[in-house]
């Protein structure tokens, strides 16, 4: 391990970490946001990333791993550039989510839980993502697409491979591959996700559009 005063993060990430720490009365609270920074820095959550977080908040790496492993969104194995998360919980299942998942697995060429050989697509099935009114739904890098069908889901995978977008945007994908939504949304969201992490400005995980 590095001495506790040293960091392997970029100056920009370190500055984000400092700002995040300033948002909490106790530094341990910053563990979860810092884990996102660590994942974004290395592409997924690595042991080195967890050690770094441990140094920032004064925990042991084992404690950080304990926290990280509790939550499903800290991927401790390398994921593809696009993480495709298909909801198969009750409301989506009732409207054909299992068929959507099967189509995604088939088109991506990997079963849920795995990443294609090119490192482009990771498929997973997830529990409810709060899109029950627009079921069945999926997320690409946690950006939502509602009302997908097996066919549009296949198109989406093909599009991710061919267009290879720098960032994915929920409303753009919804326009292209979605149908019914849980509720109307009039103004397109311009900010999107640049990697398999939730796109949130303070974590530096967005494409930075206003």
């Amino acid at each position: 391990m590095l001495p506790r005063t040293m960091s392997r993060w970029s100056p920009e990430t370190r500055e984000r970490a400092r700002r995040i720490l300033a948002r909490y009365p106790e530094k341990r609270s910053a563990v979860m946001p810092l884990l996102y920074l660590a994942a974004a820095e290395d592409g997924h959550l690595t042991p080195e990333g967890m050690e770094e977080v441990a140094r920032w908040v004064g925990l042991t790496p084992a404690q950080v791993q304990s926290v990280a492993s509790f939550y499903t969104m800290y991927k401790r194995e390398r994921t593809g550039r696009y993480l495709v998360s298909c909801c198969t919980s009750i409301s989506c299942m009732l409207l054909g989510a299992d068929e959507v998942l099967a189509a995604v697995e088939d088109e991506a060429g990997v079963p849920a839980g795995e990443t294609d050989d090119e490192g482009v697509i990771t498929v997973e099935h997830v529990e409810c993502i709060g899109a029950c009114g627009g079921a069945p739904a999926l997320q690409v890098n946690y950006e939502l697409v509602e009302g997908v069908t097996p066919d549009t889901a296949r198109e989406l995978i093909r599009w991710l491979r061919s267009a290879s977008p720098e960032a994915v945007h929920t409303d753009e994908m919804q326009e292209l591959f979605g149908t019914r939504r849980s509720f109307d949304w009039a103004v397109p969201e311009r900010v999107g996700a640049v990697g398999p992490f939730p796109a949130f400005e303070p974590y530096g995980t967005t494409d930075g559009n206003p």
Partner: protein, 436 residues
């Protein structure tokens, strides 16, 4: 067709293009109530919310004013808004966050002032980055306008707001698990007693945890006064209520309604009836944790907290999941039990071991490998999580997650035992082929 109410959804319906902006929010009367709250102070605000009869919208329907009144005197106190909406069938908070985040921010200011809080948090589930972004932008706008930060609205009251993202764990919707998570720990529920948040919450200090919808109601309660607010609702269920309707209905969506209409009205009038002209088979009246209802017994029951409880279920967070006659109930139950098994935190034995065991048995029955004894086994394993299979559950667990997995077991064995047995005798689903 039953008319919807327009209280917390008014702005987003009337101004779809920009209901999320500060400009539109203020142009439609926003932040006046937060200013008023600063002049009122704790006692008056707590009393007002008590008078309004506002019930928590997160699922437990606990009186919000009473919860506030329990806040222990130690300071600092904290406010945490629970935006970890994750119960299958529920998607109302997402709409409130995306479409009217300032309404929530104003509600938070009111709740903060009422509870002498100077640092409030919003815990948004990790799978909601877009709602989190909208909220963060609203918070940023409010800081810039001087509505958050030091000396809000020119007063000497300071209020910091931190938006915190979860990372994929339904259990963090349980308030003590949420607090653990916000402290940078595993989202394992704490023991109650002694860790009642109002006494020993975030950082072991007095803490109020309120749901997004609950807090979004606060500006309206101040604006219209407790009496008018009460009058919106139905008897003990005051104000409006957001129902998230999903499944086999023609018009799924969030509906702002008063309580008191019947399930028939909600499913057939509001949500447009069953798709493809199919028959209604069963529905979940209040989220995946709730025991199911069936048309023969429950269609004309009024939708109220008490009537639903009397019939052995709950309204919970308002998620209504409708299933038509093509639905395999074993599969539906398996999907719900799988959810709770996946989301079990794993700290207490009956939930960790029992939910997965139930899932395994259901999957076996669904796949055609069920045994006659499995029906009783399901009930007995369920009974070791939820003693006597009573409602409300008598839990052997730390929190209600484990017993939630027992609800579908009770429902399918009570109403659809023949269908379950048909799986066992026929080596698989009798409806196979009938489904889409």
């Amino acid at each position: 067709m039953t008319d919807q109410l327009r209280v917390i959804t008014r702005r987003m319906v009337e101004h779809p293009a920009d209901s999320h902006t500060l400009a539109r929010y203020e142009a439609t009367g926003g932040y006046r109530q937060a200013r008023r709250a600063l002049d009122m102070g704790r006692d008056e605000l707590v009393e007002l919310v008590k008078e309004s009869g506002l019930l928590g919208r997160g699922g437990a329907a606990f009186p919000a004013g009473l919860k506030w009144s329990f806040l222990a005197p130690a300071r600092p106190a904290y406010l945490v808004v629970n935006a970890d909406e994750s119960e299958p069938g529920t998607f109302k908070d997402r709409q409130l966050l995306e479409r009217d985040p300032h309404q929530l921010v104003e509600g938070m200011i009111i709740a903060a002032v009422a509870n002498e809080v100077h640092h409030a948090f919003v815990y948004v589930r990790g799978e909601y980055p877009k709602p989190a972004r909208r909220l963060q932008r609203a918070v940023d706008e409010a800081y810039t306008a001087g509505y958050l930060g030091e000396g809000i609205f020119g007063s000497d009251y300071d209020l910091e707001v931190t938006v915190h993202l979860g990372a994929g764990a339904y259990i963090c919707g349980e308030e003590t698990a949420l607090i653990n998570s916000l402290e940078g720990r595993r989202g394992e529920p704490r023991l109650k007693p002694p860790y009642f948040p109002a006494a020993k919450g975030l950082y072991m200090m007095p803490t109020i945890v309120n749901n997004v919808e609950t807090v979004s109601n606060l500006p309206h309660i101040l604006e219209m006064g407790p009496e008018a607010y009460k009058a919106l609702g139905h008897e003990a269920d005051t104000g409006s209520f957001l129902f998230s309707v999903s499944g086999h209905v023609n018009r799924p969506g969030n509906y702002e309604l008063p309580h008191g209409l019947t399930w028939r009205e909600l499913i057939y009038d509001v949500a447009g009836g069953i798709r493809d002209g199919n028959e209604l088979k069963t529905w979940i009246p209040g989220g995946a944790s709730a025991p199911w209802f069936v048309p023969s017994d429950h269609l004309d029951l009024p939708i109220t907290k008490d009537a639903t409880a009397k019939a052995g279920s709950m309204l919970g967070s308002g998620a209504v999941v409708v299933m038509d006659d093509t639905t395999c109930v074993v599969r539906a139950a398996e999907r719900i039990v799988r959810f709770f098994a996946h989301e079990s935190c794993g700290q207490c034995t009956p939930c960790r071991e029992g939910t997965t065991w139930l899932e395994m048995i259901l999957r076996r029955i669904e796949s055609g490998a069920g045994r006659e004894v499995d029906v009783d086994l399901l009930l007995e394993v369920g009974g070791n999580i939820s003693v006597g299979l009573a409602w409300p559950p008598r839990m052997t667990t730390i929190c209600p997650l484990g017993p939630s997995a027992v609800s579908p077991i009770i429902s399918i064995t009570k109403y659809f035992k023949d269908e379950v047995l048909a799986h066992i005798h026929g080596n698989g689903c009798p409806l196979r082929g009938a489904q889409r």
